[in-house]
Symmetry: C2
Subunit: 192 residues, 2 copies
C-alpha cells in the first residue's frame, strides 16, 4: 500500500543518504568520507543528514543497519557499571551478529578488509572512534584503549571462528553459553 | 652453485609434493585431499610422501611453511606443563605470524575462507585435528575442545586486528608486550 505526501518523500531521502553513505565509506573510508560530500552525492543539504542521523558514526552504523544509541555505545555497555561491562559488551556484540542480514553486512566489510585498505581503514576508524575511545574513557587503566582493542579482537575472532571458519565447538553452541564463557575473560581486561 | 646427483632430485621431488598438496588442499579441503591423490598428482609413491612429511597434518603445515614438530604441537605447547600453556601458545602463534612470508600465506587462507567454503573447511579441519584435539587431550575440563577453540579465536582475532584491520593499539605494540597481556586470559580458559 503506497503512502502519499511528505512522509514518502522523507523515507526516500533517508534511503538516498544511506546509499550515498555506503558508497562514500566504501570508496574513501570513515574519516575521508565527509558529511558534506555524502550530502552532495545524495543531493540534500548537510544539515538534513545531521537531522536524520545526528553524527557520522550514527550514519556509518545506520549504513550497516547496526543499532547505535544516540547517547553513544557506552550507554549500553556501562548500563550495569564497569563491573558488568564484559558481559554487556559480549551480549551487545552477539545481539547484532546473530541477526543474519546484519552479520552478512559485517562479514562483507571484514572480508573486504583483507584485500582493500580502504575497507580496513573504515572499520578501524569507526570502531576506534565510536566504540573503543568512548568506552576506554570509563576504564581506569593507563592502557585502556589497548585493553578495549583486545576485547574487540577476542569477539571478532569468535565471530570468524563461529560464522566463517565454522568450528563445530563454537558454531553449534547456544549464544548464551558462549556469552557465559567469554564474559569473564573480557571483564578481566577491563577491571583485572 | 648447482648440486648434482640424487640430492637435487630429492629436493625437486619434495617441492613437487608440496605444490600438489597446496593445490589439493585448496581445491578439496584437508579431509578430502588424500595422501594417495596428492602422491598421484606429484607422480610419486604415497610411501614417499609419508617418508618426507610423516603425516597429512605435517604435509599441510609444510605447504604453508609452518613449523610443526613431528611429536605434535603439544610437545611445544606443554613443554612447561599445563600452567605455562597459555604463554607457550601465544608465543608459538606470534612466532609464526611475525614472519612476513608465513603471515602472507596464513592471511591468504583466512581471507579466502570468507568466500570459499573449501578454504574454510581446510583451515577448520587442520586446526581441529592438528592443534585443538591434541592439546585438549591434556586439559582437564569437560568442555576442553570448546575452551581451546576460544583460545584459538582470541589469537586469530588479534592477528586480524594487528595485521589486517591495523588497530594502532595492537599494530604498533611490541609482540612481547602483546604476549604478556594475552597469556593470562588464554591460561584462564585452560586452567580457570
Amino acid at each position: 500500500m503506497a503512502r502519499r505526501g511528505p512522509r514518502t518523500g522523507d523515507v526516500d531521502t533517508r534511503g538516498d543518504i544511506l546509499e550515498a553513505a555506503r558508497d562514500a565509506f566504501a570508496a574513501r573510508g570513515f574519516h575521508a568520507a565527509t558529511i558534506r560530500s555524502i550530502a552532495a552525492a545524495a543531493d540534500v543539504d548537510p544539515a538534513l543528514v545531521m537531522h536524520y542521523f545526528g553524527s557520522k558514526s550514527q550514519l556509518f552504523a545506520a549504513s550497516l543497519d547496526i543499532p547505535l544509541p544516540v547517547e553513544g555505545v557506552e550507554s549500553i555497555v556501562l548500563a550495569d557499571g564497569i563491573d558488568g561491562a564484559g558481559r554487556a559488551i559480549a551480549a551487545t556484540f552477539f545481539g547484532i551478529w546473530e541477526v543474519p542480514h546484519r552479520r552478512a553486512g559485517l562479514l562483507a566489510m571484514l572480508g573486504g578488509a583483507f584485500t582493500n585498505e580502504t575497507a580496513a581503514a573504515a572499520l578501524r576508524e569507526f570502531i576506534t572512534e565510536a566504540i573503543i575511545r568512548r568506552v576506554a574513557a570509563h576504564v581506569d587503566e593507563p592502557d585502556a584503549e589497548q585493553r578495549l582493542a583486545l576485547v574487540a579482537s577476542h569477539l571478532v575472532g569468535i565471530a570468524i571462528m563461529r560464522y566463517v571458519v565454522g568450528f563445530e565447538q563454537l558454531r553449534d553452541v547456544d549464544v548464551e553459553e558462549l556469552i557465559d564463557l567469554v564474559s569473564p575473560r573480557l571483564q578481566s581486561y577491563l577491571t583485572g
